[in-house]
């Protein structure tokens, strides 16, 4: 009986100790303000991958702290709202939807290619920083790959007046908002998605790739990268 009680207390102590070293952050998702932006005259299908509905990032910092960031469905909400501001008409597709059931000018498949963060212990500053990297694949109306674009964005939040969890949450929201600004201002320039309003691209070559649902095949995409630091005009091909 006494042994059972000691065992129970030990478990409680271990759990309490472990909880003290672990932080959980839930990001509700940024609400993007209505932008000063002329919508592109396109019907765009936005295919959201399954990870956009429940994205969780876990990381141990220097073997001392464990951080879990739950983005949940904030990426899905973020891209749906952003594309609604960018294009005349947006059709949101789930991972299992058949693209052949829909008519559109362009299909965009965003993915999270990377998610990283630093905490004050690591950066030796008072700030939490979050980096997020989205990879956006653009297909034309018949599923031929038109381009691939990597968007790197970051957000930084100081801890003053905020708990570590709140500061990290704010940094994540700022990173997504940074991505939104970049996508709004650079996507057409980087991917030429506007050209797809005139019809599918003509590659003149046999098809070689396919969209994630496997319904269409495509040519080698053009890859664009835009890096965050240094301004919005650094587009490299």
């Amino acid at each position: 009986m006494i042994a059972t009680r000691y065992f129970r207390y030990s478990i409680i102590l271990i759990v309490a100790f472990a909880a003290g070293c672990a932080s959980n952050v839930t990001v509700e998702g940024p609400s993007i303000p209505r932008p000063h932006f002329d919508k592109l005259p396109l019907i765009v299908a936005l295919r959201l991958p399954a990870e956009f509905q429940d994205f969780v990032h876990e990381e141990n910092v220097l073997g001392r702290e464990s951080w879990t960031i739950r983005l949940g469905s904030s990426n899905a909400k973020f891209f749906t709202q952003l594309f609604g501001y960018m294009f005349d008409n947006v059709i949101v597709l789930g991972p299992d939807d058949d693209m052949l059931d829909y008519t559109f000018d362009a299909l965009v498949e965003p993915k999270i290619e990377g998610f990283e963060f630093s905490v004050p212990n690591q950066s030796k500053t008072d700030a939490f920083t979050v980096w997020v990297r989205y990879r956006m694949q653009v297909f034309d109306s018949v599923g031929t790959s038109a381009s691939t674009w990597t968007v790197s964005a970051y957000g930084k939040s100081q801890t003053e007046g905020l708990s570590g969890e709140k500061a990290l949450q704010r940094a994540a929201v700022l990173a997504m908002r940074d991505a939104a600004a970049l996508i709004l201002l650079q996507m057409d320039k980087a991917t030429n998605i506007g050209v797809l309003a005139d019809g599918p691209i003509n590659t003149g070559k046999p098809d070689s790739g396919e969209a994630s649902d496997g319904k269409s095949i495509n040519d080698e995409p053009t890859v664009f990268d835009i890096f965050t630091i240094g301004g919005i005009d650094e587009v490299t091909n």
């Binding site: 993007i32 303000p33 209505r34 932008p35 000063h36 932006f37 002329d38 500053t125 008072d126 700030a127 964005a153 930084k156 100081q158 003053e160 007046g161 700022l174 908002r177 940074d178 939104a180 600004a181 970049l182 709004l184 201002l185 965050t228 630091i229 301004g231 919005i232």
Partner: protein, 221 residues
């Protein structure tokens, strides 16, 4: 009785505060002034450019400008940024007056600024740093009681620069700098007595006061 309490409070506050030295300068390029209904906005320079200005310092200056004598009409920074999305994000905000002219030509920007009535943007750069510290202090506690013994001190430097941009003219109208240095002491003989220099708070109040004078008062020198 109330007077006595007030006097005691003031005396205690004076005695228990550390030393702060201050230097405030301004450099005017153009004449300034605020008309009825015109407002200002206070912003930290972008972290994309490596700026480390504390968010609570910006908040303090914003609050100080909006209250007291010669209070200015201050639009909250986040409201200003949201209304101009995506042109005033850390990545996209103009970093110099050349960029300011291009910024004003962006779709919907001039109209949004006109609706908010914002005439000046005050960009704040700088931070408060602990530059040196010394001394030692130790505390002990036992069944019969506890206490501390020793002496510790530290010095904080608060260096801030505010650049004022006139959105009507799309140009910089001048800068105000505030350099404050404060030394805090913590002597302890059983009970620690903190003599804290509120360096950052003083730098906030000083900069805000000078900004009010600069913006309202301004003839070109």
């Amino acid at each position: 009785m109330k007077l006595r309490i007030s006097c005691i409070t003031v005396i205690v506050a004076i005695i228990t505060s550390g030393c702060v030295t201050a230097a405030i300068e301004n450099a005017r390029v153009e004449a300034t002034g605020l008309l009825e209904g015109e407002a200002i906005v206070v912003m930290a320079k972008s972290y994309h450019q490596g700026n480390e200005t504390e968010a609570d310092y910006i908040q303090c200056v914003e609050t100080a400008l909006g209250y007291g004598a010669n209070a200015l009409n201050v639009v909250p920074a986040q409201q200003f940024i949201d209304k101009l999305f995506p042109w005033f994000e850390p990545r996209t905000a103009p970093s110099n007056t050349k960029g300011l002219m291009q910024f004003m030509e962006k779709l919907g920007v001039s109209k949004a600024i006109e609706l908010m009535g914002v005439r000046y943007i005050v960009w704040i750069d700088g931070d408060t740093e602990r530059v040196t510290q010394g001394g030692s202090l130790s505390c002990a506690a036992g069944p019969g009681g506890g206490g501390c013994f020793g002496f510790a001190w530290w010095q904080d430097d608060a260096d801030y620069e505010a650049s004022i941009w006139d959105l009507d003219q799309s140009e910089s109208v001048g800068t105000v700098t505030a350099d404050y240095s404060g030394t805090s002491f913590l002597p302890a003989l059983v009970i620690p007595i903190p003599l804290i220099a509120r360096t950052q708070a003083r730098a906030c109040g000083g900069l805000a006061k000078q900004l009010k004078t600069f913006i309202i008062g301004g003839e070109q020198v």
